[in-house]
Amino acid sequence: MSRFIEVLLVEDSPADVRIAEEAIVDAGVNVNLHVVNDGEAAVRYLTQQAPYDNAATPDIVLLDLNMPKMNGHDVLDEIRNQNNMKEVPIVLLTASESCDDVEKAHNLGINYYLRKPVQGPGLGQLLNAVQSLWH
């Protein structure tokens, strides 16, 4: 039995959270899913500030681009230099067709991007790949 992988989903839309949850179920991977609803909370979580003092460093971050308070770009800018965050794969979730948005995120250090809604084999393959790292 492989270990559960820690996934942080940063997503403001409840509907999109639901879809992601279902996609994870479909993927059949053992996941501890943590959800935060905006960029600020994401930064607090990843830097283990209250109320996320005891949060485990995630194995993968699914980061929405378009969010209130801080958007995905701001979050990337803020956390990519944190010591515990240098190696963590970050996947950008975007509804945007714009190459510019993805390119900008890429320059800020994303590892991969998925088009929303998150469903089908894409996320499953990704989670499986992450899990295989921990075998």
Binding site: A15, D16, E22, S96, K116, P117, Q119
Partner: protein, 488 residues
């Protein structure tokens, strides 16, 4: 243009004898319009009035005269000079005073010289006096001078002195000679004066006409400058609103896209997990939701793509259109195979442009041809010719200017359904679909994107078509010279 008479009242004082100006101004409308604005009229102290040619009557002239008094400085000065000239009747008396004075002067000289000079010679002195008077002061004064001269000559100069007793032939001869000289000279003088006066008048008239024409020209120049300014502002405004619209389309589509994607996510989940598990109607409803979602997605993608073309600032590079067509055909490979389309492509030129957009251009044309094919096998022919702007194109575009440079004229001809020729402009408008949606799926954006792309490349787009007779889409692109190519 109407020719007309402009009465330029403020300048009338300059021309005491001619209060009317007959200036033909080609641009009556402009002048009138500008006068309505009052700004220019007040700036130049102009008061212009338009009257159709030939309707200016003497009564009007008089009325204008009366109204004009004291209207402007020039007028006042002239008026003052007239008053001075007439003051105390100086004007009519002066010549006679001069005539008398000259005669007296001649007499005094004659009397003083009598001891030394032969007295007959003095008649020449008097003749000189008469000539001088008649040259300067007209007939009346010169006649007076003649009479006085003859009398004085007889009375004071010729002996026996102080008597008019000598009435012999030489004296009569002197009188007749002087009379003839006086008449001739004063007649000549009068004519010369009259000519001079006429000449002066004409000079003034011309000056006046010129002044008015000059004013009219100033007004026209000002109005043209204004029109140009307004045009520039309008163009800038248009560019601004265009950018704003593209921006709006982008943002709106973006925000529409997010909830739509969630919606599609859930319907996908429904389909995958519940298809066949609910009743038949539920399956049908899910399918409809899916179809509508897909369609809306395509529309939003279209709008975004249109906005991207307009808002794009990717620099132009040399693009070989043959490559663009090849790429477009590769993207449409499946559809081309399925439809069994036969696409033939002539040798195409290299233009300056956006490679991705030019692929999209041909792709949209080809997709359009495939979509609107008929039963018979689809044939598409892409050809190109050099053109300096055909009459046909000029007629379509409502331009009569000489097109500044040569264009490549690319045609995409198909044997598809075609459409009614009254729709030839509509097809390039967003969301205008000339076929009913039931028969042909489509978003109505493809050709609008083509138009945006062609226009961004400095060309024009149009179509020839007939219902059931196929369509030929045309577009133009500026020809790139070899030097421009190497500069890129």
């Amino acid at each position: 243009m109407t020719n007309g008479v402009y009465i330029h009242r403020s300048l009338e004082g300059v021309l005491p004898d001619a209060n009317l100006l007959h200036v033909k101004v080609r641009t009556k409308e402009i002048l009138e319009k500008e006068l309505q604005r009052r700004e220019i009229a007040s700036k130049y102290d102009l008061d212009l009035e338009f009257q159709p040619e030939g309707t200016v009557t003497t009564a009007q002239t008089d009325r204008l005269n009366a109204r004009e008094e004291g209207r402007c400085k020039q007028s006042l000065m002239n008026h003052g000079a007239d008053i001075l000239r007439n003051f105390a009747g100086i004007k009519p008396i002066l010549p006679y005073v001069v005539a008398v004075s000259i005669t007296i002067l001649c007499t005094l000289v004659g009397m003083a010289m009598t001891p030394f000079v032969d007295e007959e010679n003095f008649c020449m002195l008097y003749l000189l006096g008469v000539v001088l008077v008649s040259c300067r002061y007209g007939l009346g004064a010169s006649l007076l001078a003649v009479l006085l001269s003859v009398a004085s000559y007889d009375f004071f100069v010729v002996s026996p002195h102080f008597t008019l007793a000598r009435s012999e032939t030489p004296c009569l001869l002197t009188f007749i000679t002087m009379l003839v000289v006086a008449l001739t000279m004063s007649g000549l003088t009068a004519r010369v004066k009259q000519h001079a006066k006429q000449l002066d008048m004409r000079v003034k008239e011309r000056t006046y006409e010129l002044a008015v024409a000059n004013e009219a020209l100033k007004v026209e120049v000002a109005s043209r400058a204004q029109a140009e300014e307004r045009l520039k502002e309008a163009v800038e405004e248009l560019a601004r609103s265009n950018t704003a619209l593209a921006q709006f389309a982008k943002i709106a589509s973006h925000d529409l896209q997010e909830p739509l994607r969630s919606l599609r996510g859930f319907t996908d989940l429904l389909t995958r997990r519940y298809a066949g598990k609910l009743d038949e109607k539920a399956d049908e409803f899910i399918e409809h939701i899916n179809d509508c979602g897909k369609r809306m997605e395509r529309i939003i993608e279209g709008v975004l793509s249109h906005a991207r073309v307009q808002g794009s600032d990717r620099p132009f590079v040399n693009v070989n259109l043959n490559d663009s067509v090849k790429e477009a055909m590769k993207n449409l490979e499946v559809a081309i195979k399925e439809s069994g389309a036969n696409i033939s492509v002539d040798e195409l030129p290299t233009v300056k442009g956006d490679a991705l957009q030019l692929v999209q251009l041909f792709q949209n044309f080809l997709a359009n041809a495939i979509k609107f094919r008929r039963e018979e096998p689809l044939r598409v022919k892409i050809s190109c010719a050099e053109s300096v702007g055909s009459d046909e194109m000029a007629a379509y575009l409502d331009v009569d200017d000489d097109l500044p440079r040569a264009f490549w004229h690319v045609s995409i001809r198909d044997n598809g359904t075609g459409f009614e020729s009254r729709h030839t402009k509509d097809v390039f408008t967003m969301f205008k679909r000339v076929h009913s949606g039931q028969v042909y799926a489509g978003t109505g954006i493809g050709l609008a994107i083509c138009k945006a792309i062609v226009e961004r490349h400095g060309g024009n787009i149009w179509v020839d078509t007939m219902r059931n007779g196929g369509s030929t889409f045309h577009f133009t692109m500026p020809i790139v010279t070899d030097s421009e190519k190497s500069a890129a």
